[in-house]
Amino acid sequence: MIANRPDKSKLYYPQMPTAWWFKKWNYFFFLLRELTSVFIAAFLVVYLIQIYNMGLGAEHYAAFVERFKSPGWIVFHVVALIFAVYHSITWFKTASVILTPHVGSWAVPPWMVTALHIAAWMVVSVIILLLFVFV
């Protein structure tokens, strides 16, 4: 994946100041967006560990999930949720830049692509919620 790229020494790489991401709000939000992945990954690992413990017996699992009721874990999940929602919204905004669907000769405008993604997101979330509650 790296070996076939052009020879790096022939390319110009500008030197960036260490705090480049502090210079403009746009840069800061860009880096913040990349950092959302850390929180989403942390949640996924915690969720996987939780699923693993589910297989170790009912009593063990009940004791295991008891810790998620502590304020620290609630705060962790709320922070992870904020980052995840931030990632979702910016991802759907990006999708409108990448995707330009056509209906006949009419190009669907970017805001509508984003709106359709957000609508799909809401529908999918409600379906999962209903499955969780009623199955």
């Binding site: 994946m1 790296i2 076939n4 790229r5 790096k8 020494s9 030197q15 960036m16 260490t18 880096l31 990349e34 950092l35 959302t36 992945s37 850390v38 989403i40 990954a41 949640f43 996924l44 690992v45 915690v46 969720y47 996987l48 939780q50 699923i51 693993y52 589910m54 297989g55 999930v65 998620f68 009721k69 874990w73 609630i74 962790f76 999940h77 709320v78 992870a80 949720l81 995840a84 929602v85 990632h87 979702s88 991802w91 759907f92 999708a95 799909a120 997101w121 999918v124 979330s125 999962i128 919620l129 499955l131 969780f132 509650v133 199955v135």
Partner: protein, 122 residues
């Protein structure tokens, strides 16, 4: 047949799939398992996890999202490591790019294998 020159499309394809999966699905899962169940608003439907379609779904959700996260953090992490070594000559960049890639993508691959292992053994 045209010779494959680079693996990049594969990584970016997985990245895009993982991004869509995590954008659509991760927030509601955090609400349900991380907030609603611990606060007692809902009870956890453990029977759901016994269904194979649900396990397949969870594998796609967790493995693809973890890959997406790995891909997303690769460039900032590389940048960060690059900062530490920024006074080194050009060839050093290639030397540090490799371990960062191994760390990030190896981590994502380990995550996918661990997910499969957990879900198969449930």
């Amino acid at each position: 047949m045209k010779k494959i020159k680079t693996m990049e499309p594969l990584w970016w394809g997985l990245f895009a799939a993982g991004g869509m999966v995590s954008a659509m699905l991760v927030p509601i899962h955090i609400v349900l398992t991380g907030i609603a169940v611990p606060l007692g608003w809902l009870s956890e439907p453990q029977a759901l996890y016994q269904l194979w379609p649900v396990r397949l779904y969870l594998f796609v959700l967790i493995a693809l999202s973890i890959f997406h996260c790995g891909h997303r953090i690769y460039h900032p992490l590389f940048h960060f490591v690059h900062r530490i070594y920024h006074s080194l000559p050009e060839f050093a960049l290639r030397v540090i790019r490799r371990p960062v890639a191994v760390l990030v993508y190896g981590g994502a691959l380990t995550g996918a294998v661990a997910t499969a292992w957990v879900l198969l053994g449930l």
